[in-house]
Symmetry: C2
Subunit: 239 residues, 2 copies
DNA sequence: CGTACACTTGAGCCGCCTCAACTGAGGTGG
DNA sequence: CCACCTCAGTTGAGGCGGCTCAAGTGTACG
């Protein structure tokens, strides 16, 4: 059930059979959520973390004028709030953007892992640092890339991240998000996202339609986005 | 020498005398760097982390057109690249924005801490998650706040972070950054930062001049920025 | 067959950028 | 001691990328 999480971890690190077992044993309740459901609210006291099995989640913050910024997307295999293990409560909300299946991992079991499996603990620590690296890349997009580059960059990022867990090829992947949700990731309005998607289509780079991303020219897409997958740390760490 | 780091950690957590000793013992070489010096470049293989004792550091990425985005500022007491312990190399550069004194902490010693001091390991893990929370707040600023709010928000953030280590009062703090460097944090041009600073001054909220931030109206400043210090996790974590 | 919701497109506006000129404070060498 | 350079900061004029407002189209679902 946590095979996608293991695929993700094993891209970057060795996971021994004992460590795999420890992860298996850490699993708690499995839950299915509908789309558009906020299941963690900023400030809630948390005693378990959420491992995503299927679907797409978003971490987000709302402002008083109703604007929303999604700060990271999560795909199958991601821990959506592993950081709540050390933070105890979150500074942001977490919602489903599509219907989603998750499994809860009690913090008590994570604590035991830190005490009994130091290497696995470091691997989990790495996972939260990878989330931070994704945040940094989004900061660069939001601060310095224009709407076209920013959108292209997000499609490139998701192609790699979904590819790791077998949910994307170089040519396409399923992405059941609305243009409003994309806009909330990109710091744009949905109207402008719509125009950008049109331009990406007309330039024969990528087509986003009916919940699919069809990449016509991956090299070209990466080129205009200045996409460098280094921030996703795809190389293996020495044990 | 690491007293500011301990001040920072103890705002959020209990640090036992043994743990304090372990941190002391982890210290390696002390180095003084001049201002404007990039001492970690993306991709460099790293075997120690950098604890900042004095000065201000910035994590940043450059784009091909010469634009730069600073993704986080570091102040005395911060680990500037504790995450390099799990990442092994960084996806971004780290530079001094002012003259700075740092102490290196070998990864080998951090590894020993994860094996012998699980609680302290979690505290350090927390520190990197706090950096991620700061990244998220900057994403919100860059994505959804206008130039005035964004600038005000940064001044509020630094007031709290410098206050923790005794380098800021509610009324003022030293901040020897240029307007160009501020612009690189804020995703703006230095010309526009200059106009924003003028407006903040004219509105009697905050004055930034000759390396000092003088806060005329902290409540007002926080109000226009919608600043909520919750993202800095100032509450104590149960042991 | 009506309602809701995602998407699409046009027209006009505005926040921030670009380009450029100028001021002022150090620092340095003749 | 001053002429000169450099670099941070300041200000104005004009342009443009993305926003706002508004009116559509398409489609799924009751």
């Amino acid at each position: 059930m946590i095979d996608k999480q293991l695929m993700k971890l094993r891209v970057r690190d060795d996971i021994s059979p004992e460590e795999e077992q420890a992860l298996h044993d850490a699993q708690g309740q499995v839950i299915d959520y509908p789309a558009d459901h906020t299941f963690i609210t900023a400030g809630d006291e948390l005693n378990c973390s959420t491992l995503l099995l299927e679907g797409i989640l978003g971490r987000y913050k709302d402002l008083s004028d109703g604007e929303r910024q999604i700060t990271e997307l999560h795909v199958a295999g991601d821990f959506a709030d592993l950081h709540s293990f050390t933070l105890k409560h979150l500074d942001h909300n977490v919602m489903t953007l599509t219907p989603a299946k998750i499994v809860q991992v009690p913090h008590e079991k994570l604590k035991r892992i830190t005490e009994q499996h130091p290497h696995l603990a470091r691997v989990l620590w790495f996972s939260t640092n990878l989330d931070a690296a994704i945040h940094r890349e989004w900061e660069v997009s939001l601060g310095r890339r224009n709407a076209l580059q920013r959108t292209a960059h997000l499609f490139c990022e998701l192609q790699v991240r979904l590819g790791i867990v077998g949910l994307a090829t170089e040519a396409e992947y399923r992405l059941p998000l609305t243009q409003v949700q994309l806009a909330e990731c990109l710091g744009l309005t949905s109207v402008h996202v719509n125009r950008v998607l049109k331009e990406l289509r007309e330039r024969r780079l990528v087509e986003f339609r009916s919940a699919r991303v069809k990449i016509a020219d991956l090299a070209g897409l990466r080129s205009i986005a200045e996409f460098d997958p280094a921030f996703l740390y795809l190389d293996r760490r020495p044990r």
